[in-house]
Each structure stands twice: as C-alpha cells, then as structure tokens.
Symmetry: D3
Subunit: 193 residues, 6 copies
C-alpha cells in the first residue's frame, strides 16, 4: 500500500520560499530523492528552516571523539527506543554508509547493548538512551564517564543535543505519520560493485 | 546554594554574534532579566538561533483553537512528565500570566487530569502527554479528537510541534542542568497592585 | 472554576464529635483557614482521628538527623511521584516555611535529583522515592546508607513511616479529589515585610 | 531460617502502654498468636494505636455492597501488586476464611483478572489495583462504575480507603521487613473436620 | 465456580495418540490426577510432545549447582513476575515438596528478594527475573556472577533455559486460561502424618 | 568484529546424534547456510529436537486466517518488543520473502501500529504484543476479536502459541547471545533478477 507523506498538507515545491526550495533542490540532487521529512515540514517554512539548521549543526560534523558514523548511531539507538520508523530507517541508511558496515544499524536499533562497538560507544549509547527515555535519571557522573572516554566538552554537548533534537524529530514523525522513502531501506546494505 | 547556569561553558555576552546579542538584549529589556536557557545555549550560536526561531514560531501565536495560555499549559504538562524544572517553572510563570490564573500552572504540572480546564483542553493535554511519554501510542484517532474539539489543522500540528519542541528543550535542560532564574518562581502568583 | 472539597459528603462542622471539632477549630485559628483534607475526612470521624494522630506523630518532630523541613521535603518528593496536587501544594508550603527557602519545594517536587540539598538528603529522598514507587526494591543496604549519613534508628523508621503515611494520604486525596486550599499556593513564597 | 520480626527494635510486651498491651493480649487470645505487625509497630505506640484504629474502622465491617470477604480480597489484590508478603499471606488467610474458599486468595493474589468472582468484584478490584499502582489515573468515572454495581457512597469510600491504608501498611512491612507468622500460611486452606 | 480447563477444545483421552495417552496415564497414576496443562495441550499432540520433552529435559535434573528445588523456585519466581496462576500454584507445590519447606513457594512468589535463601539462589533469582521481564538487560556479567557462585556451564544454561521455557508456558496458560487443579493448592503445605 | 555463535559450547557437527545432524544438513542444503540458532542449541540435543519440533508445528503452516507471512510478522513484532536481534533479523528475512515485500519487516519491527497491514493483522499484532509484554492483561475479549476477524479456533491458538514459543526463543537468544547469520540481513530486500 502507498502511504501518504504526512497527515498534514504538503504544499507543491514551487510554492515554497526561495531559500527552502533551493535547499530542497540541492538535497534532491545530491541524494537522488527528497527525504519525506523535508516535504512534510515544508508547509511550515520557519520551523523547517530552524529544523534543518539545527540538524546540520549537530550531524554534519566529524570530531576525534565523535565521528559522523557515531552520531548516526546515536540517532538510530534513540529513535528505536522511540519506535520511530522514519528515523531508524533514514539514519540507519546513513549509519551503514558512514560506518561502512551493512549490519551495524540493525544491530544498534534492535539491541545496542550487544552491538559490536567499542567501550566508548557503549558508554555513549547507554547515556544517550537514558536521556531519550528517562531524562531526569541522567546525572553529572554520566557526563563525566563520557569525558573519561576521551570526548571533549563539545562532543559531550553534541551527544545530548543530538538525542534532544531527535526526541523532537521522532515525535514530529509520529505526529505527522511520515513514512521513510523507499530508497532508504536498501542504502548501504549492498556492496558497491 | 547558588547553582551554575550550565554544566557547559557560558561565554560573555559581548563575545556573541551581533544578532544573538541583540536578541538577548531585547529579551532582557522586556523581561527584566535574561532567562538562563539563553545564556546556556549561547556557546552554540547556530543551535541557539534555530532553537529560538522554532520556539517563537510555535509559542508567540494566538488562535481561536489554541490560545497562548493553552500553548504554555501544553509545555507545563509535558515538561512535568519529563521532570524538567526549568521548563515547568519558566513556562509555569508564562501560563499563570497568560491565563491570569495563579494556580493553573501547579494544577497542570502535578495532576493535569483533575485541573479545572474545559473538555477541549483535557483532550489536548491527554494526547500531548501521550506524545511526550509514549509517542508510538499516538494514533490518527487521537488527532481526530482534537479536530472534533474545534482545532484547525494548524492548531493540531501546533499541539504536536510544541510537545516535540519541548521534548528537545526538556532534554537539553536536563543535560546541561540549567536552573530556572529565581524571578520565574513568583511571576504571576501575586495579584498586581 | 470552583472545585468541591471532596467527591464525598462534607458534614457541617457543628455536627462533628467534640474532639474533632475542637481540633479543627484549633487548626483553623492557628492557620487562618481549615485545610481541605480535614473537612474531607470529617464524615469519617474514627478514620480522621487516626489519620491526624499518625500525621502528627511523624511530622511534628525535629531531630538532629531529620528536621521538620526534611520531613516536609520527603512528603513533597513522594507526593510528586504520586502526582498528588493536594500534598505537593500543602506540604510544599510547609517545606518553604520550615526551610526558609522559597524555591526548594518546586525544586524537589519536579526534580529532586538536581535539588540543591546535601548528600544526606539526597540519600533520604532517593530511598524515599523508591519506597513510594517500587517498595519491593528497597533493601537492607538502603536503610544502612541512611544510618551512615547519621540518621538514628528512629530517624530511619520515620523516613519509611512518612513515605508510607503519605502513600495513604496521596491515594485518599486522589480518590476523593480533594483540592488544595487557595491559601497554600503562595505561602512561603513571598518574603515577610 | 528464622527471620526476625522487624529490622527495628521490638520491645517486650510488658513494657507497652496499658491500652496497647491489653489490645495485644486480646488479639492473641482470639487468634492463638500475635500477628507480627503488632509486635513490629509496638515500639511506636502512638502510630500503632492510630494504625489499628484505622484498620478496624475499615475492615471490621460488613455491608450489602462490600462484605468482609470482599474487603480482604481488596487487600490481597493490592498487596500482591505491591509484592507485600506479610499482607498477602495474613490477609489471604482472612480472605479464605471469610469467603469460605480455600483457593480464592491465591487466585486473586496472582491473577485477579481471571479469578472466579462476580462482575461487581471485578470492577472493584480493577479500580483498587489502579489506585494502588497508578493513583492519578483514577477518574470520577471509575467511582461511578462502582456505584452502578450497587456500592453506596460509604462502600465506594471504603474501597479507596482500604487501598490507601494498605498502601501504607505494605510499605511499612517492606521497610521493616516484617515476615508473616507461620500460622497464617495454612489458615483457611484445610477444611475443618 | 467451576472453571473450564481451557478456552480451546479438550479432546477425550482415548482419542489421543498412543504415546501421549500412555504418558498421561503414567502421570495420572504417579500424581493421582492429571495436571490441567496436559489436558489443555492435548488437542495439539505435536506441540504437547515437544513441550513435555523440553520440560523434562530441564526440570527432572539434580546437579550440585542447581537442585530440583532450586529449579522449581526459578519457575515460581518468574511465573509470579508473569502473573501466571497455573505455574505459580503447580510449581509452588513442587517447590514445597522438593525443598521440604511449606512456606518457601509463597515467599518466593510474592517477594523473592526477602526470601530466606542463600546468596547463590538470590543471584540466580535476580538474573532469572531479569531475563523473564527485561531480557535485553541481561549481560555477560550476569552469567559470570552465577559461575562465581559455583554453577557449571550446564547449570548456567539451565537457569536461562528454564526461564525461557516458562516464558512460553506462562503465556500459553494465560492464552488458554488454564486453571491449576484443585489438588495443587494444598500439596506440600501440610506435614505428612 | 566477528562475534561467537553462542556464550556456551558449540559442538562439532559430526559429533551430533544422527537425527539432529541429518536435520542440520537438510536445513543447510535448503538455505545455503546453517542458522546460528541450530548450532547454538546443538549441545543440548533433547532440547534442540523439542525446539525445532514445536517451531515447525507452528510456523510451517498456511491457513486462510493466518498465512505463513502473517506468522512471521507475529514473530517480528513480538521479538522486536523483546529486543531480540536474532529473531528480528532471521524472521524479518522470512517475512520479507513470504510477504514478497522488502519493507514490511522493518515497518513491523519498529512501529507495527503504523505498518500498512489490514485490520485483521492489526488486531492480531495488537494482542500478540500484549501477550508478549503484559500477558496477564490479555482477556477473553481479545481472543474474541480475533475470531471476529475470521480466525478459526486453530488460528487463534496459533497466534498465542507463536508468541509463547518466541518468548522462549527470544530469551534463549539473549541468554546465549546468539547473533544472526550475516546472510539474513539482506535476504528478501533485493528483487530477484
């Protein structure tokens, strides 16, 4: 069955404000398709602009303590805890590509505790899932443990900010019932010839 | 005991980018003080700009189906479900002022189900708290119930987007351990002379 | 909206047994108003007498290991865990007055883990909330930890007995839907001239 | 292994205040043994007196809408939800005797939903367990449903008050680790010759 | 009230395949009655055969690290966590008989944490209940702790396999609403003359 | 990283009893590889034989009310609720193949409530997940609802028995930490040429 992109109106692309339309065109050109979350948010241009600005500030970033792949896995683990299909599938695709590992997204989504990751990432995912599901239970000691694994102050902030941003994103996706684009399901699973 | 504004660095105001500094000055002039969340976010100007843009798009808005007071009460109810002191106290203050009711914020924070609100707002808060705490359990029927209470498509989106935005805000506040400013605790509780 | 004092009958004061009426008169004279829980319980004089006797045995008591303010904060933390508006607001007022701190009740009610209290009180509130919400998980080691913080056998008993008594009180308040008196909301928030 | 009666001091019977000692003697004469909860509470005579007064006001009572057996089954169901061995075993014994049914206490303790009881008692136990485990979720409609099953205002209050009283009793028993007397385990299980 | 043996058809014994009928006859001769789970499963002979084969492989076994009584107590603790009356009552009977202790089954069913067992069995029951209720939370360290208490590799496997088998058995009993036979309730409670 | 097949010993194939070894050879020939659960169970031949017998009795079956694809989706939904990677990945593969749908397994694993399935399957998955996660909450009315969607008595039993069997299987997989074979991840995702 084909599922609609959103429970709310999706305006035609050419009616969007110029900056948003140009952004969407650029994403579509790069990816080959426009991820549904862009289309679903586009009826609210101010929110969409803020949403993508915050996303990029947190996710388009590679540091010694927290690689792009690590950031995607934080999204996968916490979005799975929130049962968010869009984010698990779309960011699972990014995680597979960034980590060059066809299995890691499924492993982290279903059971991050047994996923074949190093101790640093186990510590990151443990506190990330805690912040996602029981935020008041996060303590100063939890943040210290991340610093002991070599994360800088910026990295530690990013862990919390990524979890927080996807707490928003997961809920908007549930609220509007945004399905993942079909393309995401297979990305990063098949070795390139 | 005095508590720090954040677990992360808080830069001096005059080192901020111009647009952010001007925004902070304006808020401070209007309110008489700068809410701690501004100071705590200011070491990340891009995230701060996006955060406040999204906040204002959702909260500085009055519609027939969802008043400013109603929006603040959604924040209070869901932030209480997330045990977020900053948001309960700061938005509790706004809720008291917007609703011109010195008790409503405490009533909604502790036990929204018995709060003296109309059926529309009970329906709004029920689904808002569900989206905050168990997002996958929200169904299309939940959104329909809001429409039956007179909310427009825009209002229904706003309910979900406000809950989602404060899912982010609550978690950032927990992560950085941002305390509410002392001024918020009493605002709207004492009748003006 | 005005809310009734109880879902059950509230008899006129002058029909009460003498000892109960005298007690109520004394409380009203001291406080300036009669807390609603007195009126709500008065249709059951035997239960009311037992209720207030147990309350006073546990709460009108100041020891080196557990002050009156500490006792009120145990009530606030566990009543918040039970979403009991009456107890959070009425005992929040007492906590503010006893602790001479206008913020501590809100801090403890919403997020006791980050409240600016000493290690002893953090240990007390941790086990108090555990007993309130998951009583079988309390172990002998939990009680030992309180002793290590200087609580006597009597103090340790009191922690458990206060939590237990308000497990009763919170549930009766929910069952009868007893609202806090308007006076409680502001008590202890405004510095006396 | 023999388990102590309490984690707290248990004073010798002849050092108790006269009224308490007489009460204990009478109970022991009637039952053939002194239930451990009496001994465990006796180091706090004021609390003990209030405790037993409230207990008797709620439990020594037979009405058309709520028999003594029904009251004991409320205790069994909610004490099982709180994992309280003392109350499940001691009040399970009373329930078997009052209901003249050797199986009903185990059936209600482990799975009240499938216990062979009438619709009225299923409604009573459903709301009783809700009040015990998630008190804010109890609504006015829950109380109305009990009225529709023929419970009077007094009976409805009693349901809530019994649950509330045993919320206290279960937690005290956990806190002091009071074991049930050996006698209770078999009472009401074997048909009298 | 008499309760049916199952929500599904129960075929007459003499219509069963020979091997199943012989097995049932043997059990009935040994126990004096046919446990209801046999009758309830008999309409599905292949599943019944596999069910009893797996049961016996795990339960009819006595090792230095895990006696028959220990195995029955694992069943009692985890079946109680799953609110399964059939298994709590039937295996509670076996546990009383195997352990020659008339109280241990009730103690473990209601509050295994305070049950008078040695440290080894406390460690076993803690991880058993975790596997029953939150299986992803079991870690390699949990299994190591059992080895440190002297369990062999075979014993450790058996702990997990018994919990797993009764996760199945508890759910089938709920699904078919299988009541325990009346005989089980009293078995092992009364000292033999 | 390569993960071992089990936390417990895995015997060489040629040391297995004949019937088990022949079964394994047949599975390997049909699938092209031996699923790890076979190898992990093989050190316990009696349990393994019973396990596969029960599996096949429930899963190798196609009825008008419950197709093979439907049965696999029950496994996927409940195994995801139990965070069992092995079962989600292995039976997700079967579900994709049986349903000839490359997306359905991920949709059901992450958020079965929004999966594009008919009302019958939504009813099946709702009660299946309830039996998996809160078995005492399943009522006779839940089974009736399945009958109203056209399931026969045999189909209704199968729903419960499949959930029950995988409650066992999920826990054994967690206990032994059995990883899915690499082959399963991609099966049924790529259209055959």
């Amino acid at each position: 069955m084909t599922q609609p992109i959103s429970r709310f109106p999706v305006p035609p692309r050419d009616g969007l404000p110029d900056d948003l339309r140009e952004r969407f065109d650029a994403v579509e050109e790069r990816s080959g398709f426009l991820p549904n979350v862009f289309a679903a948010l586009s009826w609210r241009p101010a929110e969409a602009a803020a949403f993508f600005a915050m996303h990029d500030a947190l996710m388009d970033k590679e540091t010694a303590g927290l690689s792009k792949a690590d950031r995607e896995l934080i999204v996968v683990a916490t979005s799975a805890a929130n049962d968010c299909l869009y984010c698990v599938v779309a960011h699972g695709a990014s995680a597979r590509i960034r980590a060059r590992d066809p299995h890691i997204a499924d492993q982290v989504a279903v059971d991050w505790r047994k996923a074949p990751l190093d101790e640093r990432m186990h510590a990151v995912l443990e506190v990330a899932v805690r912040l996602a599901t029981d935020p008041a239970a996060v303590t100063a000691a939890d943040l210290d443990r991340l610093r002991q694994h070599g994360l800088t102050e910026d990295d530690v902030w990013d862990v919390g900010a990524i979890v927080s941003f996807f707490a928003l994103s997961n809920r908007l996706s549930h609220w509007a019932a945004i399905p993942p684009n079909a393309e995401f399901f297979l990305m990063g699973r098949v070795p390139r010839a």
